[in-house]
Symmetry: C4
Subunit: 242 residues, 4 copies
């Protein structure tokens, strides 16, 4: 079942690995079939070189395994909270990528220091609060998802395509698993450039909101003129749907 | 039309990607046919792995698409201003490369800290002023080009082969699209070494102008003795023209 | 003899190299056959591209070469002390990897700044004391092993899978040579992220012990729920045994 | 003529490039035939992907081209001074590698912060004085060589296998072109780890001289026990002579 989605999620997980965002068995990406209410996700603890599309695990939105002989990622409950609470997302990616991970460990949101950032996020990359002892004792992974949702309160999932989990690392999302991984790749580059910017100019402040919005809106939303538009579908969407 | 130039511009764009200066769909390179007054440039938002020479878009100097089924890069108006205003350039490259991008985000020109820099730029790498609100509201990409031209006022395009756009990233140029990309590669290395130099010696100052000119002039200009000269053409030019 | 173990140790050494933890002839990994009391280790000073499984050297726990035409790694006495003194380890890896090496050179243990760290180490990565003049004059490599053992006093080899040797670099261990190398790879990433965390937040402190234990224990020990468990054997163990 | 040496020098130049120490046409390696008094060196300004063994240029110790259709590296006079003045070296490598280059730009010698360094250099990596105006006006490349020789005054070319040229970058040497490049690779790693060490511990001092000598001497000199010794020739020498 869901062969196409499994293939996509498999490729998205490999993309996460090939982009250098995950080492060993770390990191995971998932995608959702909204109609069926089913999520496809990487199995837990499998090395990327031995991963196959068939190994992808299908779970329902309550976390019950519907198909697959392997255990789903231990972060599955986090993904599920995001699918349930963040309207319109089609894929989720999580990694401990070096620079985004370092910002998360520093418990800092990433200021918007330039247009690279503004092309992808319409403002500072949010960071969650630290989890309370009770959350750590309870359903930890679901609580992590809830903390992300709280950090997104009042924000648009299209304008802020990811959140740093304090002391942990980034979760990103998008229209598909591919796009979620692309947003993890972009976030890592943003995080790296921001760290270097502070090194070169410790007093640097965020760019002005007009330049930020100009860049964000030329790439996203109704007035966007970046990329290719053909019959209501961008080349990039086509690529992502192959 | 312009098959050879399209092939060059295609290869130059791939070189930008393979050198690690661009990720995802970011970055773009172009080349000009001075006789015909036509510019060949990367299409907007296409992933590098799927790019082909045929997809390169031909535009005239007013930005009208002359050939090509895809939209040209959204940064095309910036390239066109540079071709119109900077005499003698044959190619332009733009990226959000990590270190040059960080200097741009820090709104700092890059001091000439050593001979690696002096081999490529005859002094500090210039940075534009920040764009005014009016420029952001208007024809933003053309205004970006104008800001670059202002930053080059009184400077030689052969001695300063690139400029950082404040809060944004580098634009470089050269005799061809290949050379423009080579100059982006060199600029990224210069930017990286300069950041590290400041880390090791916060009080470092630029090298003396005699050493700077010695290095620049042994590689560029009439008295240059670096590289191969055969029948008025260097090996490197040959390579670039293949 | 020990063909399977030799193949494993050979692959583990290559993995160390391919992960970028070792350059030139630096670094070494070994594995032990507990029943026979024999250790297989990389030969000294051989470049990785020319290494073969047959070249692996078999030594007994006193360091006598039992099989192999090449000299064993000059660090063999360090490995042997670890096998003799740290109960239950099956493999050892040593490198001068960049970031773990820098922490070792800075003579600092690595604070647990986040869950990436806590997934792998149940607390700060220990560092040895500096060796005394007498140890340097005597059996230096064995003394290095003893310093590691002292740094592990009262600690569990499953909870702390490696130690930094002051002024030198990391030694890690695991159930097999593969796992020892995986732990070196993880340690290098932990070391890198910790250095970046301090750059972004000079006053950063370690994460609270509850979050640390939650992450460590979901991945390791009896209550672990990360990875795949089938007939008492994880997929990862299977992989490591191929 | 000198086909074997040309092949070695060609391979050594490629190794410099493949190790990431040189980009574009930067960097160069050479080797000498002591009996014939001839030096083989990379041609100037040729891209590495198009380089061939046949293109290597043969010059005598006065810099006259003895064989080869291309101009030798513009840094040839520096190499020749080193061959004339530093007894016993068989190869020279020069690059603008990132970290060694940054130390050179910071005009700092590299302190011996750990055993990685001590395995390769028996003390701080020397740095030249800055060149005087007269030297810059005169035979600049030969003057660079003389500055290196002055920085080596009283030092052993086997104990200090390279020097940083102030504001410029590293020159290294060895028994062959291969070994010179290996020493450039090692120096770059030393330089990188030293920069990171200072970041983690700004007050770090050099390791004590006993540990430094222990490490240097276990790898080099009469009492060395690192590597393989067979019939008076190490495996590494064999590799280098293939």
């Amino acid at each position: 079942m869901l062969e196409k989605l499994k293939a996509q999620v498999y490729e998205a997980n490999l993309a996460l690995y090939n982009a250098g965002l995950a080492i060993l068995t770390w990191g995971n990406a998932s995608g959702i079939d909204h109609e069926k209410g089913l999520v496809v996700i990487k199995p837990s603890g499998v090395v990327y070189e031995e991963l196959s599309a068939e190994q992808m695990v299908v779970v329902d939105l309550d976390g019950e395994v519907v198909e697959g002989g392997l255990q789903p990622s231990s972060d599955t409950p986090t993904h599920l909270v995001l699918y349930r609470e963040l309207d319109g997302i089609g894929g989720v990616a999580h990694s401990h990528s070096t620079y985004a991970g370092a910002w998360a460990q520093a418990c800092r949101s990433i200021p918007c220091y330039g247009t690279t950032h503004a092309d992808c996020f319409r403002g500072a990359v949010p960071i969650t609060e630290q989890l309370m002892p009770k959350a750590l004792e309870g359903d930890y992974e679901a609580e992590t998802g809830k903390a992300i949702v709280r950090a997104m309160e009042g924000m648009d999932v299209g304008e802020f395509t990811g959140v740093l989990v304090a002391n942990h690392g980034p979760f990103t999302w998008g229209a598909s698993a591919y796009e979620a991984v692309d947003n993890s790749i972009a976030l890592e580059q943003i995080a790296r450039m921001a760290a270097l910017t502070e090194g070169l100019s410790p007093m640097a402040g965020p760019i002005n909101s007009q330049l930020r919005d100009k860049h964000f809106l030329r790439k996203h939303g109704d007035g966007a003129y970046y990329g290719q538009v053909r019959e209501g579908e961008s080349i990039r969407d086509e690529h992502q749907g192959r």
